[in-house]
Symmetry: D2
Subunit: 130 residues, 4 copies
């Protein structure tokens, strides 16, 4: 409360509408499996994998947050219209470039839909080498 | 992951350091028990009740979010220094004035500490009358 | 570019529609003329003084920022619906409580309308005494 | 007030320290010269071109905003530590992917340094074709 919805593998979901609902709201983290300490490392967060979310004034993805363990790494905020606006659909996508210093990143992303609340990605572990 | 720490009544906690730790990180919602539909309604969110949090550059409360059920109502962001800066302690406090339209508000606040992550308040239910 | 619209005294403006346009978009800072160093000091930022702004999905005030000289003190973000939602009008209002350490605050607020961009308040100088 | 510092071509600046100061604070927009209406279009905003900014707790780039004309497209917020943390330097970089619908984008980026305030990029015009 607020509930944080967590992604579940949509291959395990039967109803098409539910697959769509879960997938289009969930943030997905795309990045390399390993990073080099002190080097720039790109973390892409994309909302939706196989499905797309509306970009309507009263129903859009308003922000994306990226955490590493308990730490907020970065957050991107949007108003409606970034993905084509009223009537359009799309997958919100942001690339945060970070420079890791710890030996491991435990990345998790959150996205916030103005109608359906908070969603959490699957975690992604990145090994950071010297 | 990120863990969301939830407030627990510190009267049930024995160790002084733990009482302090929990209290100073937790957001507390202060508002009237009832609101009038269409009228301005003040919701104060204050971080810490009996204890105060540092406002150091490397350790401060960076944001406060207010949700009603699954909906983000407002969020306030800060940089270090709002409460006196390096060496000072304080209770971050923001008043969001909202105009309720639903028949009930289910308020929950989150605060984010740059060292100790996300914290969630006790929920507060407000009856909204016509 | 983006243009920052600045408040002008609407008593100097003739056309009613223009008075309304300027007033309802402008943030106004309300606070005491003096503060005490190290004590909590309330700064209210209210968008609109004599006029009110729509809270429609495609036209609302999305954020309020408070600066002291070049420093960002705090920022509040909103989605549409805080002031009654579609069809309603209101004056967005937030109270930031800060603890001043400098001998003077040079406060300026910005507000952002999703249709009419950035607006800047009149500056407010606060003397901070020991 | 707050002053918005604007990038000036550092080739016209003589003092090395001033070149560094201007360059490391200024956001630079990198994107294609033309976009296709309805297609994803990547806008990279990078703070610093030839010089790098500290990522210290008391001195870092806290946010990047992207505007198209008067409209806020997206904003990214950071806490200190994204670029390697205390003692490290770097160029904060975010990629916002947007879907243009207008016939032209008039992009401008702002960055905010916790010590040296607001900085504005050179504008970038993007032609959007059908």
């Amino acid at each position: 409360m607020p509930k944080i919805n967590r992604y579940v593998d949509i291959d395990t979901v039967e109803r098409e509408a539910k697959k769509d609902y879960i997938d289009r709201h969930s943030p997905f983290i795309h990045c390399a499996a390993t990073a080099k300490k002190g080097d720039k490392f790109a973390v892409i967060v994309k909302v939706g994998n196989e499905y797309s979310h509306p970009d309507d004034f009263d129903h859009y993805i308003a922000n994306i947050s990226l955490y590493s363990s308990e730490t907020l790494v970065a957050r991107a905020d949007y108003v409606a219209g970034t993905l084509g606006g009223q009537g359009a659909k799309g997958q919100l996508e942001v690339t945060f470039n970070i420079v890791p210093t710890a030996s491991k990143l435990n990345l998790v992303a959150h996205s916030y839909c103005t109608k359906h609340g908070l969603w959490e990605s699957d975690p992604v572990v990145v090994e950071v080498t010297e």
